[in-house]
């Protein structure tokens, strides 16, 4: 086969040599516009796995490459003048020039024709070929020539960066973050030879302009950066190599092949340099393409096979690169984090490395993180200077006003139940009560209820829990009493009004299906139904708003009476307060609609009234939709402004939610689907954040907490058989029932006091956990609610 390869970078050279080695009959020509010793950039990095692939593909070049390697296993982070080191990350790098030299030599040895100094102005200028491999880089001529087939999408990043070399000898992958009068800069630097290191400087566009780097010459840029990073460079210098400030362009193509033409490496796809994978991906492409051509005599099948093998790998890596790129482009938002958590956040930015991974890679660093976390977020307030023995971040207590949560893990009873536990006229079911106490027994720091209606009309379905009648208070009180009596956990109530999503059937039958009988009238900011099949709501007038506000206030008072420690207001998921916030739902033309300030007015009135009614020592949270996930809806930017206002009005904690404002518009559901919002909100709006979004492992929780992404995590407990349903419920059913029977006939006046008092005194560090042995002797009588279903 006559094969023409455009571009003598690592991808083109490697593919040429592998094809020639597999079949010496191939006539292979590699065409390159530059001279053989010209190279853009400095060093390249490879991982263990890539090296194993090199070893299998061509042992000779593998030996030559590894012979030139510089190895290191640490990542250093310089930030606010402090250095945080983390070991155990194996990297290998070499100079790009050396790599090209090795591959060129190997090509010549095998008989691949190399034509340097050859400009190809257009494809017609090429002599005939059976296969054209476009390894001509990010600005690929071939890709541009066949744009209608490849359908490339080129997305430039918002940051500017420049490649330098430095004679500073590094013993680690080194990140440097520096803020000056012009803005925020970061450096990605790593060794690639015994004497030189790559030194990439990056900053946002504004910073770049303010610093005058947009008009600076190469020498001026170097002078600026040498001054800026003088402490870390320690007298060493930066060196240029066609160094200009550019934006990183992410390339994605609909397909990588067109007849006998195929894209390879950067011409097909790019991935942000911060995960150091461009050369790796390109050379892995080369291996896959050479293998496919060797395996399939038919070229069409071979090229299809190449793309099928590579596309998922490339897309996964591009996704990780995009996360990493977004991190660096928005890194300024983390500038309020302390050095240890900043470094931890940096190391775990792509979500591929977790708390457990880091503990395994560098136990010393793991200990450092635990100790630092405990000291900074807890012991600090108790005048302890240093903690020798620290728990994992999730087991570190959290102080919220006068309340102390014994740890940072939150569970909700409804998500833990395997069977529906319908309330009776708003009174929580026994199964729900038992689950709440059980979760506390099993280690929850906070048990947070699902939405609890502030009025009968505020219920979403007739099965919903409520807090608007005396019997509701009695039922909740027996839960909070049992929980406080037996554990050091706290319990919070999420107060809600369903708004236009009300009067629907129980959720086990699906969402938002209007009740057939026994409907009640709905209210909303405007007369718009939730779905086409939904009941039409009435637009709230001022009197109606007063009534709703008063319902929330009454519920807040009842919540204090019932012994709840924390109160949360539901401003999410398209319920009443959320629907005021969303421009999709709120079409009012009075002072409660239109601008964000107006849309926030009524929810804020409710918050103010509730805050005034709720004990000052006890914390108040808001569950807030931070993205309607729908064009024209509430956006994250709105949510930051809303959150700041909520905080100013006494909100201590935000629980970010997404979607459900309108039907069939929501987030991309996956493990941790809310953590991106939580992380940004916590650092942009500077507020404590409780994050859910399907977290099921303590590793996820610790990773979020230690990286400064959240303060509390809502976990989904594992299902049976890990939790032996019958036994655990038997252990709490008796005391819950006892408290129930004690609480029902005579409401002891002091219980109300105790409810508030217990919570108020929480700052002292928690209550006595009591063993369940005695109580469980009476157990078993109520286990019919244990949700046995298997």
């Amino acid at each position: 086969m006559k094969i023409t390869i455009l571009g003598a970078g690592p991808a083109g050279l490697y593919c040429g040599l592998l094809l020639k080695k597999a079949n010496p009959a191939h006539e292979i020509t590699i065409i390159e516009r530059n001279p053989p010793d010209a190279t853009y950039g400095w060093g390249v990095v490879f991982s263990d796995r890539t090296l194993a692939a090199f070893q299998e593909a061509d042992y000779k070049s593998y030996r030559a490459i590894t012979g030139r390697f510089v190895l290191w296993d640490a990542i250093d982070t310089y930030y606010r003048g402090e250095l945080v080191r983390c070991g155990g990350h194996v990297f290998a790098g070499l100079s790009r020039k050396e790599l090209l030299g090795i591959l060129q030599a190997r090509c010549r040895e095998l008989g691949v024709a190399l034509q340097f100094h050859t400009e190809v102005p257009d494809l017609a200028a090429l002599s005939e070929f059976d296969l054209l491999i476009a390894a001509d880089g990010v600005n690929s001529l071939v890709r541009r020539a066949y744009e209608e087939t490849f359908k490339p999408r080129l997305v430039p990043g918002t940051a500017r960066y420049v490649w330098f070399g430095t004679d500073k000898v590094l013993d680690a992958f080194t990140f440097i973050f520096r803020e000056n009068e012009h803005g925020f800069f970061q450096v990605h630097s790593y060794p690639f030879s015994g004497t030189m290191s790559t030194f990439i400087v990056e900053c946002d566009e504004e910073t770049w302009r303010r610093a005058g780097l947009d008009t600076a010459s190469e020498a001026e840029s170097i002078a600026y950066c040498e001054r800026l990073f003088a402490p870390e460079l320690g007298g060493c210098h930066l060196y240029p190599n066609k160094s200009s400030w550019i934006s990183f362009v992410t390339v994605k193509c609909a397909t990588w092949r067109r007849g006998n033409v195929v894209l390879l490496g950067d011409s097909a796809h790019t991935a942000h340099f911060s995960i150091g994978s461009g050369t790796k991906l390109a050379m892995e492409d080369a291996i896959a393409l050479a293998n496919a051509i060797e395996q399939h005599p038919d070229l069409t099948t071979a090229l299809a096979g190449y793309e099928m093998v590579r596309r998922p790998v490339v897309e996964t890596l591009q996704a990780a690169a995009a996360e990493s790129q977004a991190y660096f482009e928005g890194v300024r938002r983390y500038s309020r984090l302390e050095p240890v958590e900043f470094a931890f956040n940096l190391l775990t930015r792509s979500r591929r490395i977790s708390y457990d991974d880091l503990r395994l890679r560098d136990p010393r660093f793991g200990e450092l993180v635990d100790r630092w976390f405990e000291r900074h977020y807890w012991a600090h307030e108790h005048k302890r200077v240093y903690s020798l023995i620290a728990p994992a971040p999730m087991l570190t207590p959290l102080a919220l006003r006068g309340l102390t949560l014994p740890n940072r893990v939150v569970f909700s009873p409804g998500a833990a139940l395997t069977e529906p536990a319908p309330a009776e006229e708003g009174t929580p079911a026994l199964a729900y009560a038992l689950e709440a106490v059980c979760l506390a027994q099993e280690g929850a720091g906070l048990v947070l209820t699902e939405p609890v209606a502030v009025s009968a009309e505020g219920r979403v379905t007739p099965d919903d829990n409520g807090l608007y009648r005396p019997e509701h208070v009695r039922a909740w009180r027996r839960i909070t009493h049992a929980l406080h009596d037996q554990t050091s956990a706290c319990i919070g109530v999420l107060l809600s009004h369903a708004g236009r999503r009300g009067a629907t059937r129980p959720r086990r039958e699906g969402l938002d299906r209007p009740l057939r009988a026994g409907r009640w009238p709905l209210i909303a900011p405007s007369t718009l139904p939730f779905a086409s099949t939904s009941q039409l709501p009435r637009a709230l007038d001022r009197a109606g708003m007063d009534a709703v506000r008063d319902d929330f206030v009454r519920a807040a008072r009842l919540a204090a009476e019932a012994g709840f420690d924390l109160l949360a207001l539901h401003m999410g998921h398209g319920y009443l307060l959320a629907s005021f916030l969303s421009p999709l739902v709120n079409r009012r033309e009075d002072e409660y609609g239109g601008s964000l300030e107006n849309r926030l007015r009524f929810p804020l009135e409710v918050l103010d009234a509730v805050r005034a009614a709720w004990p000052a020592k006890q914390p108040l949270a808001v569950a807030l939709t931070v993205d309607d996930c729908c064009p024209g809806g509430l956006t994250y930017t709105d949510a930051v402004a809303i959150t700041r206002t909520l905080a100013a009005h006494g909100c201590d904690l935000v629980v970010p939610l997404a979607g459900q404002t309108v039907p069939d518009a929501g987030p991309t559901y996956a493990r941790g689907f809310l953590t991106g919002y939580a992380e940004r909100l916590r650092n942009d709006a500077e507020i404590l954040v409780l994050v859910g979004g399907y977290l099921t492992t303590t590793n996820e929780v610790n990773t979020l907490l230690a990286g400064g992404r959240a303060d509390l995590c809502l976990m989904i407990p594992p299902a049976a058989p890990e939790r032996a349903a019958g036994e655990r419920l038997a252990a709490v059913s008796a005391p819950v029932a006892e408290t129930a029977s004690a609480a029902r006939p005579t409401v002891a006046p002091d219980t109300v006091e105790r409810g508030g008092g217990v919570a108020g005194a929480g700052g002292s560090g928690g209550r006595r956990p009591r063993t369940m042995a005695a109580a469980s002797q009476h157990g078993g009588a109520m286990t019919q609610h244990d949700g046995e279903g298997k």
Binding site: R508, L511, T533, D664
Partner: protein, 322 residues
């Protein structure tokens, strides 16, 4: 986890009596369900009519569409067919719905491919009302009508499960692919505040009769999935050809939280069913086997209790039938 078996309704040239006999034997075997696929432009049987025939040939197994391409069909007529099948079978229907993946089926049915999502949502949103209203009778065998599943690998599919359905059907693949999709479904389910758990169904292909069967099965899969282009090689690579392969897949799916796994034949040789029955019976620890069928088939219909089948595997059946 329960294990069901597919009927060979999409294997070209399979005679009607072979399909019915297959269903009958499955009913007598260790399977919890018989399942069918859907495709219009192919030498295959209609899924609901196949299951209706299977209903007459069986007394016990659930009857599952994995899936039926809802948008190809008139919503009211499909609601009627499903209600009828459910009532005629004593509540044994599990109705899996999805948009399918083939433009040509839509063209042939005269339905605009671009409206598929909207049409599916319309069906999901109205079927239960139709069934309850009994304007489109017959009355469902259980309140709310047959178990409703949604299939697919898109964000929209996961959200639709949480909003409208009882559970999810995965398209097939290795356990970790199933596990990823299952996580997404659960995340959507919990976010919607649905109580309990979504029912999770998986599926895979098998050909256990040695090399010849594997070859025939491969040829069938290459043909059936030719429209997927090169991806067909992946489907072929996942064809289960040994008891070990089946055991591992079952373990992986069970660990990923699958409630019911349907194993589809890649050839319609009836001996395949016997081989699979032996393997499944031998996996009694992992698989929940149906209760042994007692003497005369009871006149009382099996009114579906897909979750609460109160029996564990009975050891000893596998060896005896070998």
């Amino acid at each position: 986890m329960q294990v069901g078996v597919g009927l060979p309704t999409t294997i070209p040239g399979t005679r009607g009596d072979v399909v019915l006999d297959w269903a009958r034997r499955a009913d007598a075997g260790p399977f919890s369900s018989v399942a069918v696929l859907d495709r219009l432009l192919y030498d295959s049987y209609d899924p609901l009519i196949s299951l209706a025939a299977a209903a007459g040939a069986t007394t016990r197994v659930r009857l599952a569409t994995l899936i039926v391409i809802g948008p190809l069909r008139n919503p009211a007529l499909l609601a009627k067919s499903a209600a009828s099948l459910d009532a005629l079978s004593g509540g044994r229907l599990t109705l899996g719905l999805s948009v399918g993946a083939r433009h040509d089926d839509y063209e042939a049915a005269g339905v605009d491919y671009r409206t598929r999502g909207k049409r599916l949502v319309e069906q999901l949103a109205t079927f239960r009302d139709h069934w309850e209203d009994e304007r489109i009778g017959p009355a469902p065998a259980r309140p709310g009508g047959p178990e409703l599943l949604v299939g697919g690998l898109t964000d929209a599919a996961y959200a639709r499960v949480a909003r409208y359905a009882d559970g999810y059907v995965h398209n097939g693949g290795p356990p970790r692919a199933f596990a990823r999709a299952a996580e997404r479904v659960r995340a959507a389910w919990l976010d919607a505040g649905r109580p309990g758990k979504p029912r999770l169904w998986g599926q895979s292909y098998f050909a256990l009769g040695g090399e010849a069967a594997a070859e025939a099965g491969t040829a069938y899969l290459r043909d059936y999935y030719a429209f997927t282009g090169h991806f067909v090689e992946r489907i072929v690579a996942e064809l289960l050809t040994t008891p070990q392969g089946i055991a591992q897949l079952i373990r992986g799916y069970a660990e990923a939280g699958c409630d019911e796994l349907a194993l589809f034949p890649a050839t319609s040789d009836p001996s395949e069913l016997e081989r699979l029955a032996d393997v499944i019976t031998s996996l009694a620890g992992t698989v929940t086997l149906p209760a042994p069928v007692t003497a005369a088939p009871s006149a009382q219909p099996f009114v579906g209790a897909p979750i609460g089948h109160p029996h564990a595997g009975r050891p000893g059946r596998g060896k005896d039938s070998r």
